[in-house]
Symmetry: D2
Subunit: 346 residues, 4 copies
C-alpha cells in the first residue's frame, strides 16, 4: 500500500499524541513531520512516555520549520485560533483540523463563544463538518475538514437520527455529560492536577461550554430551524472517556419503539456506531482506546420524554480516531483502516 | 457530658462503618453494641482497615445476640427488608434507621419498587422522614426516624425550597446524578470490583432507581400534589461523593434571582447546608468526609429553566452523618455535635 | 495468511479476555472455541464490556463441551490445578498454558507453594518455560509451553542477563514490586473491590508470594546454583501495569557500566525488551496495553549494589501478550505479529 | 481553654492547607494569620475547595505583611530555602518548620543535596529534629522545631528502635517507598497532572532523593556511626499515603522475635504509633487523614534479613499532623489534642 505523507501540527497535546499513536498502526500513513513549538528539538519519546519503546518518529520541529511541501495531509492539533491561522496558509495539502476553528459556520458565533475574531473566516464555507457518519459522501472531495468536538460527536450521533426523522422535538433537549481529564488537555492548570481531580466529581463551564453552539448548529441543520440545547459537562477522575445522557421530548405520536427503530436503521450497518441491546447502558469502559460510539435508548420517567445515552473515547472517536476515519474516507480507503483496535479493558 | 448508649445493627457495611467512625469522635455517644451476622465474633479492626489503629470498640455479635435492653438508641444499617423486620421488635429504644424501609409512606409503593411486601407496614405512619433540615421540629419527639437516601438528600435539599415557594413547576424536573462507589455497598458484586469501575463512567439503573419514588414523595408533599421526576444516576470512579445536577422549569413570573433568594433565605443560617457564591460550581471534593451539602444555582441555556446543583458525601450527609445530626436533634443537643470535621482534601 | 484455530479455556478471567482482545487483532489466529464453566452459554460481550461493540466471537461453552479435535492451539487460562488437569488430556493440539501449573519443574516445590499435589507431574519435564526471549530457540519444537508469571517475567528480563554474565551475586537479590489490580483476577473477593483498593497502597503476600520459587528456579538456572530471592509485591490502585525494582550486589570487579553493557548487548536487537537511556526510570504508563518490557539500571546508594528496574503490562507481556509471542515463535511467524500495539496513554 | 495564636506561612500548598484543616478542629489553636505571596488577597476558600463550607479563616496576606508581633507560634510551610530565610527573622514566637531547611544538621550536606547555600546556618544547632516520639522530652524547651520529612518519618519510626537496640546492622538497609501524589506538592508540573499519574506507577528520583541524607543522619545517630541507606521512592496514583518497605540485616544473634519485642516495647504506649498483630500488613488506607503510623515486621526470604513495613498519611503524621503533635508537646498539652480523627475509609 502506498503511504500518504502526513504532518501533525501540535503533537505535544493529548490529541496530537493519540493521532500519532493511531498513525503508527495505520498501514497507509507515514508521519513525515511533527511540530510543537514549545517542545521543538525534542524526540517524541522525550515528551511522551508511551513512545519510549517505539521508534521511527521524526523529531519535533517548530511549526514554521515544517516541510509542508512534501506533505499530502496536514493534521491540525493546535489550540483554536492558532490552528486556523496556521492552516490558512496551506494551499496544496489536504487539511484535517482537530481544533474548534472550522466547526462553526458563523464567524460571529465563533467570536461570541471563543472570544476572538476568527483568523480565517473566508475558509468557513469551504470547511466540511466532519462527523464521519454524516459527512461520508462529501469527504472524498473535501480539502478542509473540521473534526467535531468530542461532546458534539457523542451527542450528535445519539440525536441526529431522531431529529432528522422528526421523532423528537427541538425544544427541551437537555444534555448531561461526563468526561475524562484528557479532555482538558495537557496544559499546566491547577484544575488538571492529580490531587485536584482524583476522588472527586464536578460540573464545569456550566451554561457556557463552547461545545453548545456546535451541537445547536448541527441539530438546527437536522431540525431545519434554530435550536437551543441545555448542556452540562462534568469532570470525573479517569483519563479517557466521555458519556452523554440526553433527555429529549418525543414528537407527538412518536413512541420509544419508533426512536429505537430509527437508531437501529441508521446505524445497523455502521462500523463504528452501534445501538446496544435494550436495557444495556453504554459505558466508557466499553470503548476505551477504540473508535467506537455505543448508544442506547431508555424510557424517561418524565411522561413524553426519552433518554438517549452514548459513550465514546474522547481522544479517539471524539478526536484523533475520527480524524483518521475522515482521512480514510477522503482517500477512498476502507473506513476503519488503522482503527480496528479492540477497546482496552480493564 | 453524659453519654447515650448506642447500638449499630449492620456494622459490616460502609454506612455502618462510617457511623462508627463518626460516633468515635462524638462526645455524647457510647457504642455499646455492634452487630453483623456474617462477621459475628470478629473485632471491628479485623474487618475494617481504618479501625486498625483505633481501640475501644465492642466485638461484632449476631443481631439476635445484641443486648438491646441497655441501649438508648439503635442505628439500623441493615439492608432493606431485614432492617424493618429487626427494628419492628424494638420497643423501648429510639430508632434511627438508615435503610430504605421507613422512607416511603405507602406500603404499596414500597412493594412496587423494592419487590417485597413491607415487613412492618404498621410503623410507616409513625416513622419520621429525617431530612434533618426539614424534620428538625419533629425530631425531639420522634421514636422512629427514617434517614433519607443519599440521592434524595442531595436532590431534596436543592429542590425543596424552590418547590415550597412555588418558584418551580412540578413538571419536567430532570435530575442527573453522579455517585462514588461506596454508594453501591461492600457486597461482592462484579460491578463493584476495582477493575470494573476504575477508568470508566457509566449510568446505571436507568429509569428504575429506587430513590425516585422517595424524591417524588417528598417533592409531592412540597408541591401539594403528585410529582414525577426523571432521575439518572451514574457511577464514577471515586470512593465517596455524590453530585446532583437538576434541571427545573421556572414557574411563570419566577426569575433566577427569585430562586437564589429563596435558597439563600432558607439556608443562610443552616450549619450544614450552604449556597455558594454565584458562579461557583459545587464539587464533591468540597465535602469529602464532612456533613456538608453545598448548593448552587445556574442559568440553564434552555429558556425558562434553571439548573440546581448540589454536592454531598454520600456516606456522611447522605447517610451516617445525617443519622448523627438527627440523633443530636432528637436529644436536644447542638445539631453538629461530632460532625464538625472539615472536609478531607486532597 | 492461513489461520490457526485456537481455543481459549478460561475466557472469563482478565487474562483470557486480554488474550481474546489480542487474538482479534492477530491476522493468523482464528478463535474457534471459548470456554468458562460459570459463564457457559453466554456471549463474550455479555460478560465483557469491551467486546460490546465487537462481533465474531463464539459463545462461551463448558470446558468439557469444547470441540478440541479441530483446534490447533489451546490456550490455558484456567486457575492453577484446574489448568493442568484439563490440559493433561489433550494429545494432538499444541498447548500454551498461562496458569502456574507447568512453570515449576519440581512437583514438590509446586506442592509446597500451591498447597496441592500436582495434577500432571509427568508433563513437567516436557513443559517449556516460555519466557519468550530466552525460550526462542526451543519454542518451534515445543508442544507444551508454560508462560511465566507476570512478576517473574519482569524480574527475569531484568536480572537474567546479569546473572548469566556473572556480573551480580546470587546472594542478596531483593525485589520490590508494584502491581495493578487486574493481577488479582476477576474473582469476587473483598480485597478487589474498588473502595478497598482506590486511594491506597499495600504490600501483600509478604514473604510468601508464589512467584518467588519461580524466580528462584530460573535465576538458579542462570547462576548454576540454588538461589533465594527476597520479593515483596504491593498492590496499587491502577488496572494494569507491573513495576519491579530489584536491588542486587555487584560481583567482585563488576561495575555499573559492565551491567549496562550486558543489558544493552542482550536486548539491543530484541523487539519487545528495551533498555532505556541512562537516567530514565521505567514506568508502567510507558507500556500500558503493549507487549513491551522497559528496563533501566541505576546506581544504588548502598556501596557495591545496583538497582535494576523494569516495567511491563501484567496482562500483556506478563501474560496474554507473551502467550501470543510464544505462539508466533512456535509457528515460525514474525515474533510480534498481532502485538504491534503502541501503548495507550493517557 | 486559652488559645495560642498561630500563623501559617505558606498556606497555599497541600501541607499548609492540611495544617489549617487540623487547626480548625484543635480546641487550643487560633489561626490569626495566613500567608502565601502568590495568592495574597484571596480567601482560603477561593483557593481550597474543602474550605468552601468553612468560615472563620483570615484572608491570605503576603508573607512580609503578616502581623507576627501577635503570634505565639509560626508554622513554616514555605519551600526549602525560602522557609529558613523567612523564619530566621523571627525572634519572639516559637517556630515549627515543615520545610526541609532545619532537618539536616550539617550545612554542607544541605548544600550538597538541596543545591543552595543554607540561608541561616547559625540556627542549625538550635533546631530540634521533631520526630515527635523521639523529641518528646526536648520539645517543651524548644524554640525552633524542624518537622521531619514524610519518608523519614515513616522510615525512622520503623527502624530507630531496631537500630538503638543494636538488633540490626547499619549496613545494607534498603528502603522502598510508595507515595501519593500530594507529596509532590501543588506546583504546576506536568508530572503532577492527573493524566500523567492515573493508571500508572513509577519510581522517581532514583538514587538521589533528598530524604536520604535525612534518614542517614538520624539512623547514624542511633547507630552511633555514619550510615548509608538505599532508598527508592515510587509515585502511585492516590492523593495521600506513604508506605515504606525496608529490608534490614539482623545483627548477629538477633532474631525476628527480638525485633518484634523491641518494636512492641518501644511503641506499646505510644498514642500515634502502633505495631500490628503478626501477619497483618500495614496499608495506607488504615491511616488516611489520621496522625497514625502503623508498623509491622516480617520474615525476609533472604537469610538473615527482615522486612519492616510502615504506613502513614504523608500530609498528617508525615507533615501537618506531626507539626501539631509537636506543638502540643511544646506547650505541655495532651499530645493528641486535635489529632483524634479516625482515618477516613473508604
Amino acid at each position: 500500500m502506498e503511504r500518504v505523507r502526513a504532518v501533525v501540527v501540535g503533537a505535544s497535546g493529548y490529541t496530537g499524541a493519540d493521532l500519532v499513536r493511531l498513525a503508527l498502526s495505520h498501514p497507509g500513513l507515514e508521519i513525515v513531520g511533527l511540530a510543537a513549538n514549545q517542545k521543538a528539538g525534542q524526540a517524541m519519546n522525550e515528551i511522551w512516555p508511551h513512545f519510549m519503546g517505539v521508534g521511527g518518529l521524526p523529531r519535533l520541529s517548530r511549526v514554521e520549520e515544517l516541510d509542508l511541501a512534501h506533505a499530502d495531509i496536514v493534521f491540525g492539533c493546535l489550540p483554536h485560533g492558532a490552528s486556523a491561522q496556521m492552516l490558512a496558509g496551506i494551499s496544496h495539502a489536504r487539511i484535517i483540523d482537530l481544533s474548534a476553528d472550522f466547526r462553526l459556520k458563523d464567524a460571529d458565533v465563533y467570536a461570541e463563544w471563543y472570544g476572538v475574531v476568527h483568523p480565517a473566516p473566508e475558509l468557513l464555507d469551504e470547511a466540511l463538518y466532519g462527523l464521519s457518519e454524516y459527512a461520508r459522501e462529501h469527504l472524498p472531495g473535501a480539502r478542509l475538514v473540521a473534526c467535531p468536538g468530542c461532546y458534539p460527536t457523542a451527542a450528535l450521533l445519539a440525536l441526529l437520527p431522531l431529529a432528522e426523522a422528526g421523532l423528537i422535538l427541538p425544544e427541551g433537549i437537555s444534555i448531561n455529560a461526563l468526561s475524562g481529564v484528557s479532555g482538558a488537555g495537557r496544559g499546566l492548570k491547577e484544575s488538571n492536577l492529580f490531587c485536584e481531580v482524583a476522588e472527586g466529581a464536578a460540573p464545569y463551564a456550566v451554561g457556557r461550554h463552547r461545545h453548545m453552539p456546535e451541537i445547536e448548529q448541527e441539530l438546527g441543520r437536522a431540525f431545519g430551524r434554530a435550536v437551543r440545547v441545555g448542556f452540562t459537562p462534568h469532570l470525573v477522575p479517569m483519563n479517557r472517556g466521555e458519556l452523554v445522557t440526553a433527555s429529549v421530548a418525543l414528537a407527538p405520536g412518536a413512541s420509544l419503539a419508533d426512536l429505537r427503530a430509527a437508531l437501529d436503521e441508521r446505524y445497523s450497518t455502521e462500523p463504528c456506531v452501534h445501538l446496544l441491546a435494550p436495557g444495556v447502558a453504554p459505558a466508557t469502559r466499553m470503548v476505551r482506546g477504540s473508535n467506537l460510539c455505543l448508544l442506547n435508548l431508555f424510557e424517561d420517567r418524565l411522561p413524553g420524554r426519552a433518554l438517549v445515552i452514548s459513550a465514546i473515547d474522547n481522544l479517539v472517536k471524539g478526536s484523533a480516531g475520527q480524524a483518521i476515519q475522515n482521512m480514510n474516507l477522503m482517500l477512498g480507503w476502507p473506513e476503519t483502516l488503522g482503527l480496528e483496535q479492540v477497546p482496552l479493558f480493564p
